[in-house]
């Protein structure tokens, strides 16, 4: 177990290193270009050369990568071209905002989708199962950008119940959170619910469930003690992977509702070629994704005694 965890973490660090190298190459390989991006298209050739020299761009590649990585690890991401401040000053508050958004989404979505999935999978082919299955396909089929528009049309322009933007200009407002969270839940819950349903339905056909029923156990105990534990192993991994998906989802939602989060920052940065912000955001995103993946793997192992004790 301990070996497995250290292996996973080792692999995680390795992945981060490779990703950082890729990013570094992708965004900085043409030095002239970087200078243009930083100093703007109207800067003089001399100024660009000077900037490049000052920032060590004529050092060997590995040296530059080393320094860049060193700075990166110690939290020095460079300066944002657009905001004219160190990247970390913009990044951390934005990340915090996104974390709040993600927290509420997960807090509602996971119980909801697990319950619906288990109910549907418990009796495969029943009316409830069909309603939940088809319902979850439909919600998953409406892309986030479409549901933002549709939901705004209903709740903002039609019923006028909710605000159309979530910029939180006058402090935190729960009302402004409702629509973004709703959009993320609607798009994502169907996937988790369907995975849970499939897993539950599969478990219900196994021989050990038959054994449990033929042992004369009450149905409730068959479900709660024998089925659930096995059925929730697979969805656990899926839920952790949802964090990765959520990072994509927030980009659209934050963009539409003008929510000052991490996704909107990344999008803005890439539209404005704000390379240091892109690098930092991408690294953070990959870190979150890889970390959640690592936790998912470790958790899967822990939940599954067949792997835990072998």
């Amino acid at each position: 177990m301990l070996i497995m965890i250290s292996k996973r973490i080792g692999f995680m660090i390795l992945t981060m290193l490779v990703v950082s190298m890729l990013l570094f190459m992708l965004l900085e390989f043409s030095p002239g270009n970087v200078a243009t991006k930083v100093l703007g298209p109207y800067s003089s050739e001399e100024a660009r050369q000077l900037w490049l020299e000052r920032h060590g761009y004529f050092e060997p590649l590995w040296w530059r990568y080393g320094t860049w990585l060193g700075n990166f690890v110690s939290g020095e991401f460079g300066d944002s071209v657009r905001f004219r401040v160190p990247v970390s000053e913009v990044l951390w508050p934005r990340l915090w905002n996104t974390a709040i958004l993600g927290f509420w989404t997960f807090a509602i979505m996971i119980p909801l989708s697990l319950i619906l999935g288990v109910l549907a999978g418990m009796r495969e082919g029943s009316r409830l199962d069909r309603v939940i299955s088809v319902g979850s396909i439909i919600t998953t089929s409406v892309p986030e950008f479409a549901s933002t528009v549709l939901l705004s049309a209903i709740f903002v322009f039609g019923l006028k119940w909710l605000p159309g933007t979530s910029s939180m200009t006058s402090g935190f407002d729960v009302k402004q959170m409702i629509l973004p969270v709703m959009v993320l839940i609607i798009y994502d819950f169907g996937y988790v619910a369907r995975m849970t349903r499939a897993s539950m339905a599969e478990v219900m056909t196994t021989h050990y469930i038959r054994t449990a029923v033929l042992k004369g156990l009450p149905y409730k105990q068959v479900i709660l003690k024998h089925a659930l534990r096995n059925a929730l192993i697979a969805p656990f991994t899926v839920i952790m992977l949802q964090i990765n998906w959520l990072l994509s989802g927030v980009i659209v939602v934050e963009f539409f509702f003008a929510y000052k989060g991490f996704g909107a920052l990344l999008l803005e940065a890439s539209l404005n070629q704000d390379i240091f912000v892109i690098e930092a955001c991408a690294m953070v995103a990959v870190f979150v994704a890889v970390a959640s993946q690592t936790i998912a793997d470790i958790g899967y192992t822990y939940l599954n005694p067949r792997i835990r004790f072998s």
Binding site: T15, V18, V19, L22, L23, L26, L27, S133, V134, I137, I138, T140, S141, V142, P143, E144, F145, A146, V149, L150, S152, A153, V156, F157, G164, N244, W245, L247, S248, G249, I251, V252, F255, F256, L266, L267, S270, L271, Q273, I278, C281, A282, A285, V286, V288, A289, V290, Q293
Partner: protein, 297 residues
């Protein structure tokens, strides 16, 4: 006797595969969601093919700005779904937009599948170094949040039709590779594969003739799901302003251009939303139906 030889000697050919694909689609009758899905997809395919014939107006022509749905056009005809802020007929734009999406999405999916299948076959059949290298590459690509990856790629190489296909191929192939690899890991232990090995078949023959055709079931289902997802991706890129350059009609782009006016003119955004959602729903239901049918026998 000899005519039997001619008709049956070739091993699985494209023709055979096609006939069997038709047969398995015929089985779809058993699944109501699957039929609805197939219907939706077919509807949009027909619309895309017949676009020049059925579209009432030129999708790019500025006719009458901000007309509400049902408005009569002075020069004849009706704006059934209204016009946008530039005065272009929304119905015609949606009809021609289906061409765009049904051109780029399947093309990107086919490229992604070709790459993913080759990677998956190589990794799953040879194992060893092939597997380690290819799997690690996939893991790294997959560890990016998808949209972050697209944004970075598009931000680097710029936004155009070809670049979108490249980005989708690059980002989807690892996922397909994982699925193919899993299927191959199972299939490579079949006795008929051992039989092929013991008669000295080449690895390429075993991968393409003995293994791949038997993995087609799950792959077809996955392809339908993925097609839906690629449509979402193209839509999202359009919505974020990273999609196909204007003025060609693109559903995601249409939503993005008009969303700020949704307060006053909801029809401009709602109809493209319904169009794209229905097509995605079609592919998702189709995938679900196919999976259901394939599990039955």
């Amino acid at each position: 006797m000899s005519n039997i030889v001619e008709t049956v000697t070739p091993a699985p050919t494209l023709g055979f595969a096609f006939i069997r694909a038709i047969k398995s689609f015929a089985l779809l009758r058993e699944s109501t969601p699957g039929m609805v899905g197939a219907g939706l997809v077919l509807f949009w395919v027909i619309v895309a093919i017949l676009a020049p014939l059925i579209a009432p107006f030129d999708p790019l022509a500025t006719l009458q700005p901000m007309a509400k749905p049902g408005t009569e056009f002075v020069k004849g005809g009706t704006f059934w779904l209204g016009t946008d802020h530039l005065g272009r007929d929304i119905l015609s734009r949606i009809i021609f937009g289906s061409q765009t999406v049904l051109f780029y999405a399947p093309l990107a999916t086919v490229f992604a599948y070709t790459l993913g299948i080759l990677m998956g076959l190589a990794a799953g059949y040879h194992l060893g170094w092939w597997d380690i290298v290819l799997s690690r590459i996939s893991d790294i690509i997959l560890s990016f949040p998808v949209l972050v990856l697209y944004i970075i790629i598009i931000a680097t190489i710029g936004s155009s039709g070809i670049n979108i296909i490249i980005a989708i191929t690059f980002a989807s192939a690892p996922g397909i590779m994982r699925i193919v690899r899993g299927l191959v890991l199972d299939l490579r232990n079949r006795e008929y594969v051992a039989a092929a090995q013991t008669r000295g078949e080449s690895s390429l023959y075993i991968m393409l003739v003995e293994i791949l055709p038997n993995a087609r079931g799950p792959l077809i289902v996955d392809a339908c799901l993925r097609l839906g997802y690629v449509i979402i991706t193209i839509g999202v890129l359009g919505f974020l302003g990273l999609g196909l350059p204007p003025p060609d009609p693109d559903w995601g782009g249409m939503i993005n251009e008009t969303r700020k006016m949704a307060m006053i003119f909801p029809h401009m955004t709602i109809f493209p939303c319904i169009a794209i959602s229905s097509l995605i729903l079609g592919f998702n239901l189709l995938a679900d139906g196919l999976r259901e049918v394939s599990l039955r026998d």
